[in-house]
């Protein structure tokens, strides 16, 4: 099953690649339309849009999913229900492809809802309590986005059809478009885990690692960014983009800080994904959708690779994900640590890897177009934080003193997992330059002063030095002082937002519903319907039973009563 789906998706990727090159070189764009029903004045059509953007994204999605399925052949080896897992992953890829190629809102809704529900099924795959809670959090956060898309469908009916791409250039000042843009942005924010809805992404790490590599690094979370890229012409001058800029920059900053204090390997990578998503959303809201798309694709490559390396490490450590148990692993898994290092350095934006091409371009565009000082500071600070937690992770996992038992010596690097990682390694080295040659037909003209140009390098060097220092020194002993204890708790638990949005929001209602349940469901309504009526009937029948006991007194009394009635009736 694994190999069949791997081959199918790989050939699908090759087909998409050839068509992408053909389409982008010739500037083609194909729009298929099938009329399902045409009745009086109503048409229901199914449409598919194939332009270079959708073909490129489909190529990347199918590449990553084929590699992940190949990887999970070995990773999920001991699973009894591997077929179920592969079928869920294939359904996920199908929903994603449906989302990518659809120019009308109904098929976007099908893909969007499918993504949310299937990611729920994948997160609860291991059926323990943590997975159930994480799945609930994921599904309900994504559900808010689904509701928003449903409402957009209602509002867009005003214009007569659900093909949104036809309306962008003509309807910008309409009030209806104002409402639609607001809802689309909220939907994208829920899917891409921006600040009010960011608690589900670290929690969804309860899913198996291949799921995290496919879903939570490159496909599900980028669906929101992709939707906004498609809707970009509509949203570009609207007020909400400024709100989105603010929230996405905060997301980038917050997750960068939280990743520095986090100790679970997959959660650190999840928070780095969150940070890069904030970066993508912010550059999109500044008005550069093609750069956002570029970063989306390069990020997908090295983040999927990073998750797969994390999976190898977790396998090696017998399911332990805490980095405090790890140290000095690079001696034992040299090829995996090669992949880990390259994807980490690509994430930091080290020159000439793929992450550098997109990230550096983003930062230079931010410096070149004069924006707010806060925007500038937070962008560069978040870049420095990225390098900081990356080097901290490398120090803890790879370089530091050997920490755990002889368990490392039992592990052989699995060729299946390694082969799949090398494909992504190759892509993560080359996709930056390859994509920049294809997507940008002419380079952006950026003219910066010397130090501003090098600001990225300064910030990266500073971040790496801090990362080394923090892992080497016992700086965490300072946390024992109560003064910085509260601050570090605040910063490491994602500014308490997960607690606020789960326990904080539902506590009042759950408490109230407990009161209602105890007092009404199990209290008064039992007296007035269930148990109460039963008791009344029982007591009445006990009472009436007396008359059936053949009691002589009752017969005599009824004789006297009857006699009195006759007497009164006849003689009065």
């Amino acid at each position: 099953m694994c190999f069949n789906s791997f081959f199918f998706l790989f050939f699908f990727m090759l087909i998409n690649f050839f068509f992408f090159v053909y389409f982008i070189m010739n500037g083609l764009s194909v729009f298929f339309e099938w009329e399902i029903i045409s009745f009086n004045s109503m048409n229901i059509v199914m449409s598919i849009l194939l332009d270079w953007m959708s073909l490129l994204f489909m190529m990347f999605v199918s590449l990553i999913s084929s590699v992940v399925i190949f990887y999970s052949k070995s990773y999920m080896n001991s699973e009894l229900n591997l077929n179920r897992f592969i079928i869920l992953v294939l359904m996920f890829v199908f929903s994603m492809v449906l989302l990518i190629i659809s120019p009308n809102l109904i098929s976007i809704l099908l893909g969007w809802d499918g993504l949310g529900l299937i990611s729920y099924c994948l997160v609860i795959y291991y059926q323990n309590l943590k997975s159930y809670n994480a799945g609930m959090l994921t599904a309900l956060s994504n559900r808010i986005g689904d509701v928003m898309i449903l409402m957009v469908i209602c509002w867009v009916m005003n214009y007569g059809s659900w093909n949104y791409i036809f309306y962008f250039d003509f309807m910008k000042n309409d009030y209806v478009m104002f409402i639609i843009s607001f809802m689309i942005i909220i939907a994208a924010m829920t899917k891409s885990a921006q600040i009010p809805f960011s608690s589900w992404l670290p929690a969804a790490m309860a899913a198996p690692t291949p799921v995290s590599a496919l879903v939570h690094s490159s496909t599900l979370v980028t669906a929101g960014v992709y939707l906004l890229i498609r809707f970009n012409y509509l949203l570009i001058d609207m007020f909400f983009f400024k709100v989105l800029l603010f929230l996405s920059i905060l997301t980038m900053f917050m997750s960068g800080i939280s990743a520095n204090y986090e100790f679970d390997l997959k959660k650190i990578i999840a928070l780095s994904t969150l940070s890069q998503l904030g970066l993508m959303m912010s550059i999109l809201s500044l008005g550069f959708p093609d750069i956002a798309f570029f970063h989306l694709l390069t990020h997908a490559m090295f983040k999927a690779l990073l998750f797969m390396c994390a999976g190898v490490i977790i396998h090696m450590m017998n399911d332990i994900q805490d980095i405090r148990y790890m140290g000095g692993l690079s001696l034992y898994i040299p090829l995996t640590s090669l992949c880990l290092n390259i994807s980490n350095l690509s994430l930091c934006g080290i020159p000439f890897l793929s992450g550098f091409c997109s990230k550096d371009l983003i930062l230079e565009m931010v410096s070149f177009n004069s924006f707010n000082l806060m925007v500038f500071i937070l962008f560069y600070l978040s870049t420095g934080l990225t390098v900081f937690y990356t080097f901290r992770l490398i120090m803890y996992v790879m370089i530091n003193d050997f920490n755990l038992m002889m368990i490392y010596n039992l592990y052989d690097e699995d060729y299946i997992m390694l082969n799949s990682m090398f494909v992504l390694l190759f892509m993560s080295l080359l996709s930056g330059s390859f994509l920049s040659w294809f997507i940008f037909s002419y380079p952006y003209m950026i003219y910066l002063p010397f130090n501003l140009k090098l600001m990225v390098i300064y910030v990266s060097i500073l971040g790496s030095i801090l990362g080394f220092m923090v892992s080497n020194m016992g700086i965490y002993s300072l946390n024992k002082l109560l003064l910085s204890y509260n601050l570090s708790s605040f910063l490491c638990l994602m500014w308490f937002m997960p607690n606020l949005s789960t326990y904080g929001l539902s506590y009042i209602y759950l408490n109230f519903s407990q009161i209602l349940f105890k007092n009404i469901d199990m209290g008064w309504s039992e007296i007035y319907s269930g148990k109460g009526i039963f008791n009344i009937l029982k007591n009445y029948s006990v009472f009436y039973n007396i008359y059936q006991m053949n009691n002589f007194k009752i017969y005599l009394f009824s004789f006297i009563l009857w006699f009195m009635i006759l007497f009164i009736f006849f003689f009065i």
Binding site: Y126, Q127, N128, L129, K130, A206, Y261, E262, F263, D264, N318, D319, I320, Q321, D322, R324, Y325, N400, D401, N403, G474, Y476, S477, N479, K480, L482, Y485, S488, S489, C492, L493
Partner: protein, 144 residues
């Protein structure tokens, strides 16, 4: 139902529990083993200072202060083992209990004839081994 205590803990048990939790807390903060060992020795010294206290009122007060201090200084992300309660892999793989095999359909049981041939005999031997070691169960315990 009102809170029926499940058991009574002695003072020594409470102190040992506090000590173990405090050590696990230290482990969460200091992950390099030699640094942790140093801090653990310091903690042990703090506990040993009041170990021989005979006045129970003071001893209880120390215990209470210790619990309070542990609560205030607990690590926000404690270090758990993966398969233990609180860890990531807890209850991922669930083994069904043994009595489930008695509910199998005869056709399913026919797939493993050797095992099921000896199963009843093994059950009797198990009960005999248990009663030899722990004695026969009380008649009152057999029914709620």
């Amino acid at each position: 139902m009102a809170q029926i205590p499940l058991g009574v803990k002695t003072h020594a048990q409470k102190v040992c529990s506090l000590y173990k939790r405090a050590l696990r807390n230290l482990e969460a903060y200091y992950d390099r083993r030699h640094v942790y060992r140093y801090q653990a020795v310091l903690l042990r010294e703090r506990f040993d200072k009041h170990a021989k206290e005979t006045n129970m009122i003071k001893a209880n007060e120390f215990l209470k202060e210790g619990e309070e201090e542990l609560f205030l200084k607990q690590h926000p992300i404690p270090k758990y083992f993966a398969t233990s309660p609180g860890g990531v892999a807890h209850e991922r793989v669930v083994t069904p209990p043994d009595w489930v095999l008695d509910y199998w359909h005869p056709l399913e049981k026919a797939q493993y004839p050797e095992y099921f041939k000896k199963r009843e005999q093994r059950k009797k031997e198990f009960v005999a081994m248990w009663e030899k070691e722990y004695g026969k169960p009380d008649e009152k315990d057999k029914h709620h």
